[in-house]
Subunit: 469 residues, 2 copies
């Protein structure tokens, strides 16, 4: 009897163990089929092959911690074969965690890192993968230009409403920088004893003067400020009109009203200004640096109405560099597509940029207005056809004026206070002015405010109303 | 008794079932841990996140079939949102499967697609992934230049033994194209009444003349062939020396022996020529187009001994384009690293390029030598310090001469025969010569031979010994 009971217990024990084991089988089988399900995102091992190494490397480098005050890149300076962190203003250390105590806020350049967080937030959409054989040829889909990138740029301008492009030719440049001299060359007479006079209205972007003088072509000559030529009988002008203007961000137009006007609309995007109407010049320059923030890519474009001018520019670009890098065109194509697709969504880059720069302007304004030592350019709220509302200013630069006589050299005043700015004489203006870039990282902007506070506080007539910002 | 047996059998059955279930669990657990093992390639789903979309897209586009006579790219012309195939010479159709019956072989440009198969064979090593926030800034690790790329370029020259770079400054250009005028500018006197005379020895690369004349700077002037100036008292020359020369691929040196010589060493790599010794000029240009085949990337570099010249070139590059695209620098960094790592291995790119071009030259030579209608430049086997042996010629171009009086315009003769070449007058030479590019795809080269055969066969003095090739 006892034996019968033992055998029955044994059988029951095995049954229980078997049942438990079967449950584990079922669980593990579910896991197994789940990993290999066709409905899983198309990035299982079985579907990614030659891109794996590079993708893994990119993610590993992106994951290197730089304490939120820097970032590492795949081609960064190597330390033990590992790219090192590249730190924001005033941060140092292998992980950018140390804030230098006595460090200047460098707001000299228009480096558009204010858009970096946008791309970090949209990492998946912003990634670009290029094969080893990607576009090896000199030729791409429209000679040296990507046809689809051309198409999408036109679509973007139409969607944003900031430029009329129909009936105009399109050229690509290695930055709008390259297009500046290309256009001066193309608009100049050939083999002439009377070179074209290249002019701009003060304050102007220094590049126009510096570049024209450096290249020193026989058919053009830098002739300074438009004010000098207002009542002149001269006709052969090439006038640069930057709108919004760099450095003071005002919307403006041609002063001399001549036939050769180069409209530089680098900043004519909703990040920086209201869009009252689409620009419609015969020659209009734009740059990706100020659209998406990819200044390092070196990519710009221009719309040109006149066919002869277009042919001359194309010729120049062919002989200067055989066009803009096809790698860069591929990368920028991805970004233009994305920006276009996200218009009006909660991932709208213009919304992102506008909000960030508006807050920066408000905080800086509050600080500057708390004393009469300094003043800023006057910018008013304006109706914007893109946002379909009256919107506050969100300029790229502060055009700061030192109001006191003893602050004759404004850039020098700021330099002594630990702020590196770009002095007014560079823009053809006076030393009473200096330009502060509002385009850089959050760390950089915070450092600017931190350094500015004592300068404002040390003014004789300050109101001590430096509100918390 | 029977009941005892039944109970025992039942227990045994449960034991067997339990054992089988345990074995299944062990198997499934091994599978599970194998997928998540740290030693597995770092590309499991749990390890790839933001790069997945772009990686999958790149692989999908690379997998589009173009019948082996073309390829699709991620930024190709879209048809139903799918990039279309871009076909090789004379192939058409949505999958490049149709060979046009009456189509010219276009061997005009030096488009280096002969290296495309190399990069397709090394797909994993050649892939590059760029994040959306990759190098947005104007500045990179050495102002506008990637420090690691600079380092690796120097290492590569040392490893190949084709240039002495110690004690020389390094600049990057948007193609060597950009560096040509930058160097002419930098070597010219400033604000002079006696502009520098820019010269080259016939036959010369057309770009030197065309670019110098287009930019038309006040401090330099194109003054033609060196032969004109051999016995001149003039001293202010800027002489271009291309070695190996484009178009005839001969190794050569300065003719005028002046102080300002620009050595264009675009082709001074083992693909194209023996390396008898490292080049050691004070100014030396190289281009990635002819190193790795990435002509579309627009990237070149130059070594410069004199600090003043270097500063002037850097200044020019800043004002022309603010340096070369940082995207491109990142991509090329990957390729230079790879090429360096594979030196001497069975993935040596120079071995690959040399073998391909050598075979092409032999086949073309056999065809040309089968009649006296045409002749080619004389190239001999030569000792190469890279391959450490005497090696056959493997030139980039055929510098074809039409020997018969009635074939006065050689390019025209070939054009009528269905070959588009680059006529000798472009190189400052006579119409008796024309240049054939041997650098393009296999399809292109086969088409060249196919079109050339009848031209040779139609010669009066052919020997009918057109060997099978």
């Amino acid at each position: 009897m006892r034996e019968q009971l033992t055998r029955e217990t044994t059988a029951n024990v095995y049954l229980v163990l078997f049942s438990l084991s079967v449950l584990l089988n079922i669980f593990l089988l579910c896991q197994h089929f789940s990993f290999h399900s066709p409905s899983r995102p198309s990035s299982t091992i079985s579907e990614l092959s030659w891109t794996r190494r590079a993708a893994a490397e990119a993610e590993a480098v992106a994951a290197i911690s730089c304490s939120g005050h820097g970032r590492a890149y795949v081609d960064g300076v190597l330390d033990n074969w590992r790219p090192t962190c590249e730190c924001n203003t005033c941060y140092i250390g292998s992980d950018c965690s140390v804030l230098l105590s006595n460090c200047s806020a460098d707001v000299d350049s228009g480096d558009p890192l204010f858009l970096e967080p946008y791309w970090m937030q949209h990492a998946a959409k912003g990634a670009v993968v290029l094969s080893g054989w990607h576009r090896m040829s000199y030729s791409t889909t429209d000679h040296f230009k990507s046809l689809e990138l051309e198409n999408h740029i036109r679509l973007l301008h139409a969607a944003v409403g900031n430029a009329i492009t129909d009936g105009k030719y399109l050229v690509f440049g290695t930055g709008s920088t390259q297009l500046i001299n290309a256009l001066v060359y193309a608009l100049s007479p050939e083999n002439t004893s009377s070179p074209a006079s290249v002019v701009a209205t003060v304050p102007y972007y220094p590049m126009y003067k510096e570049q024209t003088e450096l290249f020193n072509g026989r058919d053009y000559e830098w002739e300074g400020a438009t004010a000098k030529w207002r009542n002149s009988n001269k006709t052969n002008f090439i006038e640069f009109v930057t709108s919004p203007n760099n450095p003071d961000c005002l919307l403006c137009d041609s002063v001399l009203g001549g036939s050769s006007v180069i409209y530089d609309h680098a900043y004519y995007w909703p990040h920086f200004t209201a869009i009252p109407e689409p620009a419609d010049g015969d020659v209009m320059i734009f740059t990706v640096s100020k659209l998406s923030g990819h200044a390092g890519s070196r990519f710009g474009w221009a719309f040109i109405k006149d066919e002869n001018v277009y042919n001359k520019v194309s010729n120049y670009l062919q002989y200067n560099s055989m066009g803009a890098s096809r790698d860069t065109q591929s990368r920028i194509f991805n970004y233009v597509k994305l920006i276009l697709a996200e218009i009006g969504s909660n991932a709208d880059i213009f919304e992102f940029g506008f909000n960030k720069l508006r807050k920066r302007w408000q905080r800086l304004q509050a600080l500057v207005n708390s004393s009469s030592r300094f003043s800023l350019q006057q910018l008013s709220p304006q109706y914007c056809t893109y946002f379909k509302k009256i919107r506050d200013p969100s300029p790229a630069y502060a055009w700061l004026k030192c109001e006191n006589e003893e602050d004759a050299d404004c850039a020098e005043v700021l330099m002594k206070g630990g702020i590196i700015s770009r002095g007014g004489t560079k823009f053809g203006s006076s030393t009473q002015y200096t330009r502060l870039s509002l385009l850089k990282t959050d760390d950089n902007f915070e450092m600017l405010l931190q350094k500015f506070k004592p300068l404002v506080a040390s003014s004789d007539e300050n109101t001590s109303e430096i509100s918390s910002f």
